[in-house]
């Protein structure tokens, strides 16, 4: 590890920000087309972020300010460890456990900051976000642990490299179809897309954790959200859809996967938080357990089907 790793890390951060923000802007247009609207300009998301950074902002105390920085720092640190088409800024550190623990720093920073604002809507939003996390994490983690057990590796880049070279049939989402379905549903929950967006419900709890953010704080939260989206989609992409052999393949697959979740989100209503938990603990959990039993006891999925 030398100074070049940090330079690469910085370049990764800048590229990820530009790519994901552009993609979010394009997806706003996709959502608009679903609703038969013309939609915002493709660079609208950049305008929104820079506008927010330009404004004054109100502080609600030390915890509120520090939580934002902690969340953004934690999430940016996590982005650096994500392997993109085999490229890593810090080689050998792309372990699933490293990423999920680093991600927790950002998540807790966000929860701390939101709760520090003292607004009851923010506390309700944080409580719902953590409940939602508990709901989608259990089925997803069962599938991921099954995969780690079966392939004897917990490195994202190794697992995605194992799926390459066999075309679409090599993807874990095809080898382990139930697990793939669970992963897509959990991805909707991770990204806070409908029907699992009860923790940011704008008309119900006034955008939940974001309720007291304005100006520069809100700008940081928007940047954080772009990075967080990249991490979550990348994990699912690497584990279930084979990552990408080249950078272009990776970015194309990424864009398709993200747009797919957005299209589903565009036509869905919203679950209440208790409905979301009950939903995840019924069908996805059952599918994850069945998938785990099949992989562990029959070996189907580790070996190819055909």
């Amino acid at each position: 590890m030398n100074v070049m790793n940090f330079v690469y890390g910085f370049i990764v951060l800048v590229c990820v920000f530009i790519f994901q923000t552009t993609l979010t802007g394009l997806n706003r247009k996709v959502t608009a087309r679903l609703q038969k609207r013309y939609g915002a300009r493709w660079y609208q998301q950049f305008l929104d972020i820079f506008k927010a950074l330009r404004k004054d902002s109100t502080s609600h105390g030390w915890v509120f300010d520090f939580g934002v920085i902690m969340a953004l720092g934690g999430i940016m640190a996590t982005v650096i460890f994500i392997p993109v088409a085999g490229f890593q800024a810090f080689p050998g550190l792309d372990n699933v456990f490293v990423i999920s623990y680093l991600l927790a720093v950002g998540m807790l920073g966000m929860a701390m900051s939101a709760a520090g604002s003292g607004n009851p809507w923010a506390s309700i939003g944080v409580a719902r976000a953590l409940t939602n996390m508990l709901a989608y994490d259990v089925p997803l983690m069962i599938v991921i642990f099954t995969m780690i057990f079966a392939f004897d590796s917990s490195s994202l880049s190794e697992i995605s490299a194992m799926q390459q070279g066999m075309g679409i049939l090599g993807w874990n989402a095809i080898r382990m179809p139930l697990g793939g379905i669970v992963a897509i549903i959990a991805l909707l929950g991770m990204l806070g897309k409908k029907p699992f967006d009860s923790f940011i419900a704008p008309a119900e709890i006034a955008s939940g954790p974001m309720v007291e953010y304005g100006g520069k704080h809100l700008g940081f939260m928007f940047i954080l959200h772009e990075f967080m989206t990249f991490i979550e989609v990348s994990i699912i992409l690497a584990l279930f859809f084979g990552g990408g052999a080249t950078i272009w393949e990776y970015l194309l697959k990424y864009a398709i996967l993200y747009t797919f979740t957005n299209i589903i989100s565009g036509v869905m209503p919203r679950f209440k938080i208790d409905q979301a938990v009950k939903y995840f603990f019924k069908l996805p959990l059952a599918m994850a357990i069945i998938q785990g039993l099949v992989v562990i006891f029959t070996g189907l999925g580790v070996t190819l089907w055909f």
């Binding site: 013309y38 506008k51 309720v211 007291e212």
Partner: protein, 183 residues
């Protein structure tokens, strides 16, 4: 009170105003009768997201406070609270005849007449009610005003705070709250 339109911005403020003009987040204060005109403006027929406008959930996140229709003296207090929670640069768009001179409620004891005695209004959209075409036209005007640096009601409010405060207190009167938070 007349707002001056002199352009005294530096280059960073000009760049910032470009972003502000193209990304207008609104807090709708719709206790009057105008709220029904907003859904058609937002949805597929008129689609205000084209211009980068959109509704936000709280005053902290918003740039524009949109006040539709008449304000009773009771809701005026809440509007002032909401406006003072917003972060500058912040703008007020007053909507409908009632905010200009009281409209058909001009002689009511329960509503206020002119809104700009209490808060610095940047733009009026007149009509009873303004149709979505008028709203879109009005907001195009606001975008131009922000780009040229003419929408500086928020600076005006800071500079003439005593005048506004006096009008607000005259209209609202003082209230005495006796609970554990106000001693």
């Amino acid at each position: 009170m007349v707002l001056d339109k002199k352009d005294d911005r530096n280059v960073w403020e000009k760049i910032g105003d470009y972003f502000s003009a193209n990304s207008i987040w609104m807090k709708w204060y719709c206790t009057g009768c105008g709220a029904i005109e907003m859904p058609p403006t937002m949805t597929s027929r008129f689609d205000m997201e084209r211009l980068g406008m959109g509704p936000m959930a709280t005053p902290r996140q918003a740039d524009v406070l949109l006040i539709t229709g008449y304000l009773s003296t009771k809701t005026l207090r809440r509007v002032i609270y909401s406006y003072e929670q917003m972060n500058s640069p912040r703008f007020i768009v007053a909507f409908g005849s009632c905010t200009i001179n009281g409209g058909i409620y001009y002689d009511s004891y329960a509503t206020i007449g002119r809104l700009d005695k209490y808060l610095p209004v940047d733009l009026y959209i007149s009509g009873c009610m303004p149709r979505p075409e008028t709203i879109m036209n009005g907001f195009s005007g606001l975008i131009e005003m922000i780009k040229k640096g003419e929408a500086k009601g928020w600076k005006h409010y800071q500079e003439n705070y005593e005048w506004y405060k006096k009008n607000q207190l005259d209209s609202l009167g003082k209230i005495i709250i006796e609970d554990e938070f106000h001693e």
